[in-house]
Amino acid sequence: MAFDKIKPPISLSILVLFGLILLLLQLMSSATQESSELSAMYSWLLLVNALGSVVLLGLVGANIYSLARQLKKREAGSRLTTRMVSLFVVLALAPAAIVFYFSMQFLHQGIDSWFNVEIDRAMEDALELSQASLDQRMRWHLRQTQQLTAKLVESSETLATLEMENLRELSGASEMTLFSRQGRIIASSSINPGDILPSLPDEHTWLQLRQNAEYVALAPVREDELMIRVIVTVKGKEPQYLQALYPVPVRIADLADSVEFAFVRYQEMHFLRHSLKLSFSLALSLVLLMSLLAAIWVAFISIRNIVAPVKALVKGTQAVASGHYDQELPVMAQDDLGFLVESFNEMTHRIARASDETRMAGIEVENQRAYLETILANLTAGVISFDAEHKIRTANQAAYRIFHIHVNQFVGRTLLELVQSYAELAEPLKSIQRLLEQADDIWQQRIAFLGSNGRQELLCRGTPLFSQEGLRVGAVVVFDDVTDLIQAQKNAAWGEVARRLAHEIKNPLTPIQLSAERLQHKLADKLTAVDAEMLQRSTTTIVQQVEAMKEMVDDFSEYAKPSKKQTVDIDLPGLVQEVLALYALKSGVKFKADYDTGLLMIKGDPVSIRQVLHNLIKNALEAIDAKGLIEISLHRVQKNNTDFIEIALYDDGPGIKDEQIEQIFEPYVTTKVKGTGLGLAIVKKIIEEHGGAIWVDTSRKVGAGFIIQLPACNF
């Protein structure tokens, strides 16, 4: 962040770069002007510009490479960047190429147009003219000098020295010198008295002089001063040489100089024509290359900056599409794209909020559902819901407890399908199914059936469910196992009956008995022997029957009276052994006992339990007519997470008829000739008082079987 702050803005860097490039190019352009001071730096500038181009080329190359890699990876925004860059390059390249082409054309034609045959000829002619003019002057001076020699022929050296000044002034020469044959200076005269030493001809001149006897040539004395040097032979005994230096008039010298300068310049240009073209082309190409490369590089940077938010948007959109709503993109600029990014951020915020709310609502619903499910699961009543086709949708734990089948596992199936797997439940299931199909309103029905635990009675209430449009969408059936409740009601009713009977019947019995005995006592002596005997018999019958009735009434009251139990820990095997020992002497009856190992303890009233065993064994003995086998087994079983001790008692008698099974535990139900029909009723009462259950084992086909389950005592 701090780095961002101190980083100069990119536009400034670009401006600086462009300025630098322009400066370099301008410098190079100035350097091409020969007169410029920069011309000495031309080579360096060329090199620097070329290096700059190479660097820019490298930058552009690196950008292209990175773009190509992004394209290959299909990175977000890479295609847009490629398209924009290509467009820019084409747009920039096309006009630049056209301008470049025509510039080159104009350049070459322009340079070529400087040179043509006429100018060539004119230049050469001008030079020749100058040369001819100078030549003429030289020849004239030669002739003049030759004429002067006549005066020096055969004159002594002294005379010559005197004559020299004269001759010089006469001829108009600036310097005149007489040399001996060996090159010794004999006499000399100069227009400039300060010049002590005359200008000496060089070896080359001497050589020429000896060959031709005369010499005439232009001698550049100083940079811009021309002299005509004439040397002629002075004929005589001893030949001498006269050298005269004639100044070329300033005007002519200037003209000749100017012509020469122009000619040389022209020659040079002509010679450099190709180099010039090459050099200009080079400069032009460099300018073009550099500006194009710089433009492309800057295009890359700016396009990258433009595409950056788009790229971020694409990435953000992808993230949102894959479910990550916590996208916050940085807003880089306050333009349209910035606005787009801001809108995107706001959108993702809203989506995130909505998604959170949905999730919270989902959790809430789920909590509610779980809560309801918990309540349903813990209801004692079984609840099964059905859909429109009467298929099970849900069922709670209680339904399983009541039916002893996992109704949950039959979700999606109808009750009739359940019937096939659980034949013993056929009756209630079919009834419920029928009611579901028929009922249009809330219904209630009591359904009794024989379950695995004996006779069961269900109270079913059904409610059809309707949609808001009034269509039937299913039903809910709630059912309670009311077996125990009804049994309790029955027991209470029978208890009341028994108590009343005992009260109403027992009261008159004693007077009846006393009255009969009194009749016997009073009348026995007064009657005949026959009559007395009959009276005796009748009285005895009355007394016996009254006794029997008393007994019966006692049984009733026994049955009806509330139990007064003393609960202690009972070791069942011991108790059973104790009871069996009383019957062991009976001949013809075999007892078979089978106990689980370990403690088989219950909590209860030992007197009552003993009575239960007595009643059952007595029943069995009566059933088998004192001949046969009686089996007693004690097992530890587990039901609904509670330990029970199961006492099973079987005989091999004639068994119990199916129609009697249902009512066998009710009072006054008996198959025996003798008996009050209260034995099993009392047994059932005691067992239920101990929190247990008793039922007829219907699965046994031989003889009769009773199964008692009593809660085990846990240590």
Binding site: H204, P220, L272, S279, F280
Partner: protein
């Protein structure tokens, strides 16, 4: 596979051939132009050591053509005196140069040589005479005797260069790339002894 290999090798051969063809002229001309320091002599004159040397200027066709067309050529004769130091680079005691300009004058049909230092002018009707005038260096003072320390090793170096940056502007890029313009000599060193 074989075809591609042979193609590849033939391509390589072609490339090599091209290089050779391009280089051959340069190789063959390598000996025919350029400046060479022929001999040098170090003598004592008064209080100084003086150097006399002879150089040989051989111009390439391209350089001659340029000269004929009025392009002036600038030559620098670099002279330096070095003191050897075993542990460091050599110490330069004297570093000086003599600069000449040679130009063709069309009007006079002459070659003019100018000593840029002394501004002396010489005219020659032939190129070889003009070049000869630049090729002798006589009694050039290279070191004071007082500076000579016995036990030290000294050397005098001489090198002649064509100043390519003094050429007309359009010619410079070519001068830097065309071997025809590589006329400068290398350093030639002589030991300086008492």
């Amino acid at each position: 596979m074989h075809a591609s290999v042979s193609n590849k090798s033939s391509f390589c051969h072609a490339l090599l051939y091209c290089c050779l063809v391009w280089l051959l002229p340069a190789l063959s001309y390598a000996d025919t132009f350029g400046v060479e320091v022929k001999n040098a002599e170090i003598a004592t004159q008064g209080n100084s050591y003086v150097l006399s040397a002879d150089m040989d200027y051989r111009l390439s066709a391209r350089a001659k053509e340029a000269l004929q067309n009025g392009v002036p050529l600038y030559w620098d004769i670099h002279i330096k005196t070095l003191q050897h130091r075993g542990y460091l680079w050599d110490k330069t005691l004297v570093n000086t140069s003599v600069r000449y300009r040679i130009q063709y004058h069309a009007l006079l049909n002459m070659y003019r040589v100018r000593n840029e230092g002394s501004r002396e002018l010489y005219n020659f009707s032939t190129l070889s005479a003009a070049l000869d005038s630049m090729s002798t260096l006589r009694n050039f003072r290279v070191l004071d005797k007082a500076l000579y320390e016995s036990g030290e090793r000294y050397a005098v170096g001489i090198k002649v260069t064509l100043d390519r940056d003094a050429l007309p502007l359009p010619l410079r890029p070519i001068a830097y790339t065309n071997p025809q313009w590589y006329l400068s000599s290398d350093w030639t060193l002589w030991p300086l002894t008492k």
